[in-house]
């Protein structure tokens, strides 16, 4: 698994690794689809079995399939955003939420909950995500404006602005919570804990291309991310337009994060630990790390959500709890056994 010791990243090597990881994701999707509360076997999907009865159809196609697919998209998007922000900010603690997108999205979502903006008809349930997305974009524009000093975005001000913005929005959320009614309080807490909803497949069909395009656009910046490991000056010397790369990364990374957060709430750790795991396993080349991040992040969240769905049946756990409880200790163990071999160390 350690690419660093096996020579440069050739096209063939890249392809073979990505095919391997894609099969990992395919396996995770199958496991995710095969398991759940309803006693419906995956074999029922096979074309020669009798057609699904209405209950099986509802459980498999209306509830389970969209949820598994959304978990994959959200996990992939958060991981890629994490990889990109860590590369751009040259900071191992950077995660998709570092730029204040999470704060903006949560504040927007909580405001929607309190205002009772549920959306109706075809938009049922989309009121909160829409507000969250608006909050995230607002945060992004605001932070970009504040952190741009003398026409330049410096890593230092971006990090600091994001952290302080997140703290401020957290206070805003506490303020709303302290004034909210009991029912609103429940809705807020659940929104903030992170949960993968079962969106209609049509909504997923709209969402998936946007997220995947964002990921592909970030992939196209992979060589620049590699150059940024030399520092901003070093990267400029090898011909990278650092200012442009910075702007594009912040915009694209925040956009896909905003979409993920507005739909699934705040799911922590995916965008932090999966990128680090991949750096340990695959080395520091972003041409591989970004697509690998998408595939592995997707697989990771599909499996984490499976645990959230089935561990305490007939109840469920918030998926953010699972990612942090499993991901955290696992990552610490791995970090210990790979001391010094880390992409950043």
């Amino acid at each position: 698994m350690t690419r660093r010791r096996s020579g440069p990243l050739t096209r063939a090597r890249l392809a073979s690794r990505l095919i391997g990881l894609a099969s990992l994701l395919a396996a995770a999707l199958l496991v995710g689809l095969a398991n759940g509360a309803g006693e419906v076997s995956l074999a029922r999907w096979l074309p020669w079995t009798p057609p699904l009865d209405p209950i099986e159809r509802a459980i498999l196609i209306d509830v389970r399939l969209p949820r598994v697919l959304l978990a994959a998209l959200v996990g992939g998007a958060l991981t890629v955003a994490g990889v990109a922000f860590q590369a751009l900010l040259r900071n191992p603690l950077a995660d998709p939420y570092v730029l204040g997108v999470s704060g903006g999205a949560s504040l927007g979502g909580v405001v929607a909950v309190v205002l009772g903006v549920g959306g109706s008809g075809a938009l049922a349930g989309l009121g909160v995500p829409a507000f969250a997305f608006g909050g995230a974009l607002g945060a992004l524009l605001l932070i970009e404006r504040i952190a741009t000093i003398g026409g330049r975005l410096t890593v230092y001000t971006v990090l600091l602005t994001g952290a302080i913005f997140n703290a401020t929005t957290a206070a805003g959320i506490y303020l709303i919570q302290s004034l909210a009614s009991l029912e609103e309080l429940h809705a807020i807490v659940f929104y903030l804990m992170g949960h993968i909803p079962s969106l209609p497949l049509a909504a997923l069909a709209l969402l998936a291309p946007v997220l995947i395009l964002g990921v592909l656009a970030l992939w196209s910046l992979a060589r620049s991310f590699n150059a940024l490991a030399l520092g901003e000056e070093g990267a400029t010397q090898v011909g990278v337009d650092v200012r442009r790369v910075k702007r594009q990364t912040i915009l694209l990374g925040s956009l896909i994060t905003a979409l993920a957060v507005s739909l699934a709430g705040l799911i922590g750790f995916v965008g932090l630990i999966v990128p680090h795991l991949l750096r340990l396993a695959l080395g520091p080349d972003h041409r591989l790390l970004i697509p690998a991040g998408f595939l592995c992040g997707a697989a990771f969240l599909v499996l984490a959500d499976l645990i959230a769905r089935v561990l305490v049946l007939p109840a469920e756990l918030p998926v953010g709890v699972v990612t942090a409880l499993i991901g955290g200790p696992f990552f610490l163990m791995l970090l210990r056994s790979h001391r010094g071999a880390h992409g950043f160390a």
Binding site: G36, A37, G38, E39, D53, P54, I55, A58, I59, D62, V63, R64, G116, G118, A124, G125, S181, L182, E183, E184, H186, A187, F190, H195, P197, S198, R309, V310, V312, L313, P314, A315, E316, L317, P318
Partner: protein, 301 residues
């Protein structure tokens, strides 16, 4: 500064007992001055005929109407202690809550008695009524009320016992799906109504429920309390459950969209609530409730 003076004066008033109270309300020197912090507490006090002893209410008390003109003194778990002292409260009746334990201890140390009631279960409600009656010297009235409520509930239980035992889902939140589990007053009401909670094997009184489990268990009655917005869809209609048209509840037309206010806080309305639930579970035998029974009057909002 003014606030602090008031606090000092009021603290003195409490410290000196009835004598100092006389200065503000001489005629009530020996009567308790009660603050009803929790909604269930205010209902019980009114039922016990202690309405004219109430000098303040909690922020979430929304009825009875006649109490709403009284000063508000904070949420049940974060009472405003200064305000309570200022009002000369001698007894605070509230809900039992871990979050409020420190505030309760503080009030006791300032000489204000605190009666924290657990009204989460039927038995809790009966016990609370008896304790409250004893605390304000209306034991007989409390016993009478409690006895009537018990009898009514038992009658309902007997009435429902011969009816089909239906699988019932009570939804309290939509996304994620959040529903009543064992130990909640709603679960108890389902059982009184001769039903079985589809989530009876869950481990807590309110659960983030697995959508797949809920569908696979084929509820025959769905009582959906998840929409608390004014003007939301109400009544005997499938709402969003119509997507799952294989569910017996949808097929047999037993999905009810009810205002959460109707069933949320048990207390003196326990019998009324239990009867409503029983009629939602067995509309054909006990009579489907009229629309006004799930539409909350506008005055309460």
């Amino acid at each position: 500064m003014l606030g602090r003076c008031a606090l000092a004066v009021a603290a003195l008033a409490v410290a000196c007992g009835p004598d100092a109270n006389e200065r503000t309300k001489p005629d009530r020197a020996t009567e308790p001055r009660i603050v009803a912090l929790a909604p269930a507490a205010s209902e019980m006090l009114v039922a016990l005929g202690a309405e004219d002893r109430i000098v303040g209410i909690g922020n979430w008390v929304r009825e009875p109407e006649q109490l709403l003109r009284l000063p508000r003194v904070g949420a049940y778990d974060t009472p405003n202690i200064e305000r309570l002292i200022e009002l000369g409260a001698t007894l605070v009746v509230t809900a039992d809550s871990q979050a409020a334990a420190a505030a309760h201890a503080r009030l006791e140390s300032l000489g204000v008695s605190v009666l924290a009631l657990n009204t989460d279960t039927h038995e809790g409600i009966f016990r609370s009524l008896a304790r409250l009656g004893a605390a304000i010297g209306r034991e007989a009235r409390a016993r009478e009320l409690g006895g009537t409520m018990r009898r009514e509930i038992d009658r309902l239980r007997v009435e429902s016992a011969t009816l089909p035992r239906r699988r019932v889902l009570v939804v309290v939140g939509r996304d994620p799906l959040y529903a009543a589990g064992p130990g909640s007053h709603l679960d108890e009401m389902i059982r009184v109504a001769g039903g079985v909670n589809v989530l009876e094997d869950a481990t807590s009184s309110y659960v983030q429920a697995s959508r797949e489990s809920v569908l696979a268990r084929m509820p025959e009655v769905i009582i959906d309390l998840s929409d608390n917005r004014p003007g939301a869809l109400r009544g005997r209609q499938a709402g969003e459950w119509v997507h799952f048209d294989f569910l017996p509840a949808v097929v047999e037309n037993r999905v009810w969209l009810v205002d959460p206010q109707r069933l949320a806080i048990p207390g003196m309305r326990l019998v009324e609530m239990s009867r409503l639930v029983a009629r939602l579970v067995h509309p054909e035998a006990l009579g489907a409730p009229d629309p006004h029974e799930w539409l909350v009057p506008a005055t309460r909002r």
